[in-house]
Amino acid sequence: MRRIAPFGLRTRLIAAFLLVAAISAVSTAALTYQKARNAILAQSQDMAVSTLRDQLDSKNLRIPMDQETLQALVSEFAKRGKPRPWAVFGEYADLRASSHINPPTSSVVTDELRRQVVSANPHGAFQRVEDASGTPYLTVAMPAVFTHQGKREPTGLVVYAVMPLTTERETVDAMVDAAKQGAVPGLAIAVVPALLAARGVLRPVRHMRRAAERLGRGRLDTRIEVRGADELAGLARTFNETARALEQSVSELQDAEVRARRFASDVSHELRTPLAGMLAVTEVLDEDAERLDPDTAKALRLISAETGKLADLVEDLMEISRFDARAAELNLDDVDIAVAVTKTLERRHWDDGRVTAELPSGVRARLDPRRFDVVLANLVGNALQHGGAPVTVTVTALPGPDGERLLIEVADSGPGIAPEVLPHIFDRFFKADAARTRSAGSGLGLAITLENARLHGGTLYAANGPGGGAVLTLDMPLEADA
């Protein structure tokens, strides 16, 4: 039921939340990291530069220097490295001194730095470098100047301090680790509000889809609970209003239809009693027709025949009204299908060769014998009237997906049914030939047949056979349910 669509709302919401969380986490971490790293490095650098300057400042020097003085100076400075121990190198003209035994000059002090501090107007300077193994170093160069006649002149002495930045690097790396460790749980936590938000959006959507499906199945009283005041609640409200309007329209239509059917039913009921009287009278008059003059007798017989048709029509109308009112009932009985078909044909006197029947022996069906008789009589009568003899009735019992089915095919030898007429032949009062407005039947025969078939849980198909004649097929379950 709950599918995870690759680009569904839920996936997109989670992706968006994760993206936002990732961007904010990474940006915050990166900016914090940069600031903190620069602050740490700046502090170390400034302290190293100012410590070296402070130590060299106000020192009493005798120039030109000699090797011993230079060595002593360098050794003294080396003891006071800040913020961390450092190595100190002194350079004066040709003289080189180092606080370490070896080497006398540093391998990480660059020529760039050397050039910078031996200018005519030297300043203190530093440079961050990496040695061959990638270890970061801070190199500080501090030239010594002296004041002569109010001018500051370089003495030619430059003191270099070299300090490894391994501690700073560890601190910086620790910050990166902390940022990474903080970002992953942050992203995991971001999934929770994403899921909640997705739920908040998806639940109303799911409700609405179910409601729409119910509405589509005909449950017009379906309503959605309106919760909150957001866009989705507005949508739900609109849905409810639409459903209400739809329900109202449909119920008005149904009422109108019910009224129309009831009118037809009432009319046929009201007509039946006077018609019964008229039928009785015309029968009596028919018997006396021979004694009347021929014109009057002809008129009388016409009245009698039309009255009979009117009675049939009223009977059919009442029958179809019962179907419409769902008042039609099945009186089921076990019958031998071959016997039932034969009886129907005999009763209508159709056993004179115009109708041939192919009947299986010993097939028993559970159906309403009276209604089955009506159905079959209608189909065969229709075939004889509109198609033509010979008419073939084929009865077969077939296994189907919902139990065994009874198939009764009635094929005539007429010209068949025109394709444009085919979908309408079960409509009420439908006339295949528009010019022939008056026919022998009431126009309700096939409609009643279809209703009877439906009552048995079956249906009717109309088609044209390969030989050209019309084929009407009754398809109903062998065992009808009441």
């Binding site: 993206l19 990732a22 440079q127």
Partner: protein, 172 residues
Amino acid sequence: MTRLRNAAAAVAALLGPPLLLAGCGIKPTGVVESGAAANVVVNAPDRAGVVYFVTPDDKLVPSPQVDSTLPSPVGTVLRLLSGPGPQERAAGLGTRLPGWEGGAPAAVSVSFTSPQSIEVKVPFTVMDLPELAMRQLVCTVASVAGSEIPDVRVTVRGPGTTLFGERCDIGR
């Protein structure tokens, strides 16, 4: 349009963090100047001149007069002309000026020709002097002028040639 905006947002989202993280670790820098140089104390009389010698990598290095007696300007120039002493030589200092093996001191003279200029007379041709030697001479002479004259010009007079308006580029 929306498609384009989405694509731009996606690219920004994908590229932003790596760009921010690109500056990870401790990166090497160029040379950064940081504050003044250290000011040391040299035990030399302020009035005395300073003699400039040359390091092996062609830089001028001062050698202040540390004697207790105040030498004359000529004395200072003579000390320059006689070349580095043993201590200077031990430190690797040298000179680019031509040798002057105890010639007559009268051949050397220093005199103020105006409040802003000072003239030195040397016993060798100044025309062909290397630039470094010239700077040695000019700066040494300029140093005897004293602090009262801020921007001193030096005239160098040799046999046959005189160079006017030389200035020393050392010191502020």
